[in-house]
Symmetry: C2
Amino acid sequence: MQSIHEVAVRAKQTARRLASATTREKNDALEAIAQGVEASTARILQANAKDLEAAAQSGLSHALVDRLRLDAARLQAMARGVREVAALPDPVGRIERLDSRPNGLRIGKMTVPLGLVGIIYESRPNVTIDAAVLCLKSGNACLLRGGREALESNSALVAVCAEALERTGLPREAVSFVRSTDREGVREMARLSGVLDLLIPRGGEGLIRFVTENATVPVIQHYKGVCHVYVDAAADMEMALAIALNAKTHRPGVCNAMETLLVDAECAERFLPRATEAFRQANVELRGCPRTRALVPSMLPATDADWDTEYLALTLAVRVVDGLQGALDHVALHGTGHTEAIVTNDHTRAERWIREVDASLVLVNASTRFNDGYELGLGAEMGISTTKLHAYGPMGLEELCAKKWVGYGTGQTRR
Amino acid sequence: MQSIHEVAVRAKQTARRLASATTREKNDALEAIAQGVEASTARILQANAKDLEAAAQSGLSHALVDRLRLDAARLQAMARGVREVAALPDPVGRIERLDSRPNGLRIGKMTVPLGLVGIIYESRPNVTIDAAVLCLKSGNACLLRGGREALESNSALVAVCAEALERTGLPREAVSFVRSTDREGVREMARLSGVLDLLIPRGGEGLIRFVTENATVPVIQHYKGVCHVYVDAAADMEMALAIALNAKTHRPGVCNAMETLLVDAECAERFLPRATEAFRQANVELRGCPRTRALVPSMLPATDADWDTEYLALTLAVRVVDGLQGALDHVALHGTGHTEAIVTNDHTRAERWIREVDASLVLVNASTRFNDGYELGLGAEMGISTTKLHAYGPMGLEELCAKKWVGYGTGQTRR
């Protein structure tokens, strides 16, 4: 078996070819992958059955087994997803604009691939195809490393990609796969300086911290999302209730769901009893600060730990704050740079929120659930960066690229 | 004395205030710094004299002593530089554009400061002011760590900044300084996860590798520049000669100077003898590949190591290559992602060069010396990034910022 370093170097050697592939070449490869997923359904499901069997033997939780499971419908959705990425505009080679310098040199910035992108992810095998396809479309080679429990499924999906690349004249190693599933392999990937141009760890906080701690390659982190909705006294109370309910209950298990509701003291009496009723009807468990519980005594008390907890469940912390400044202070202390929403009709407060809150998406009068590549118009995404460098928010095709300067001269020299 | 961590945390606490400072507040602080440099000339030169004395005792080289030395004229230039940055447009708070999503949510990207930026640099004390001023204008707090030999000068300059900030109502810790000058201090800075939002090491390759190896914070690297000029057979030979001479001799000691000249075999006989003559008149030592020496036998032979050497001196490696493809292959192998120029009048080859060469600035018919923040229109810069993530090329005010998403809704919830 090849070492991780050897696999990575072979993948990297394809990066130059990938970077100069035309949009048509890349789209042809993507279509071949979609067809490959359809044509190889039996083979992929066979591999998946092995993973499921091993999962059953090792007593994997029902939720994890469900994330692992593939079926004909899920493979159909996968192929559809590939074709959607093929239909997106190709960012590579775009020049933003060409400005003329005083000496006549025309200067612009061109979008170019990063090179070799590493992705470390956990149980869901469809990430294999998502990641491969986003990297290919953005002209990058990729080095994938999935979870142990999905090893057979992932291998089968990578084989589909490799065959599709070969069939359409692109190097098969452009989608490369690391079979090692231990922490040592993660460490090795994180230390591939000069080979890996970017590493994206997707998974629990432990994995991300381990990668960050050990990395010599650039890493983009996707930490947890403790997202807030702040209901200002100048809010339309109906709108505030609808947004808060949507942010909490639309899909509670995802990172852009609201975890803490902040309520302006000035409207707490008007808002909280009604909101409590609505959340209870939606089976949401509420945990309140003392001022909240003074208004709704039946609510459980929140502890300090609640303000920093990503429940990913039908649980919500509620805190009464002293106006906008109180909300800004709470978010500065407990926010995770993910998504923060205010509900207000006060223009000045809305603008202060937009300007002063540090998060990858800052919203006025809308649900936190909109922090998503599709909803923001990127078409597809590779997770949501909560670190500011390079990308802040959903990572689409553009975010998998860099921008180099280009200059068109007519013989300019420096004086 | 406070620990590095304590200094950093206090600096970080000012980041929120800095991020919401108005352009006027920041410009007032910059003007106060410029005035402070002028008013404190005696104090700064006194501190500098101590550094110079210590340097003389420790036998520092003439070149290093010269980089260390301040005088009234250099301080005047420093103050002028500060006012130039004040005159630049403020990138913070700019929204690129607001697109409407199908549900009416208006979505855009707003430029925001990174937070706390760390800069590690070596002997030149003027970097202290350059870095502080670029960080302040872009709304960032900064944590500076200069070289041991400039400790007194740097401390005096940081004191000027702190006083200016205080006088204009901004927190003095927004420009903070690390007095430790050992490697342990560098390591500590590199591991300030969650406190430092970006670390820029400026200096020798050893420093940069040490930081990269130890960092848990995001790092932007400024590695060496082995820059090429490729003279294509379809070039105007006069233009090619002028560009090559300028790229090598205009300022040989900087990273955007040419280190290797590539000549298309088809025009080598026409170009090389004349070019050799011109370079020799400019006192440039030439080292040629065997094909070059077949045409100019008097030239010294180049060894393999020459293709990867950044001479930073009047020395030039020369290689004959087989056309554009040969040049592209050489640059892919030996280029350092800095600056690469082609001289040609062939449109197709020019476009292939622009598209296929991986470097922070890719040029057609212009000197490599144009890779510079002022020349590219950024107004000022904090070095040239040779890594693709976040910034590729000169880092100006924009590159010291991130872009967050902002959304203006009217009650949108997700369906």
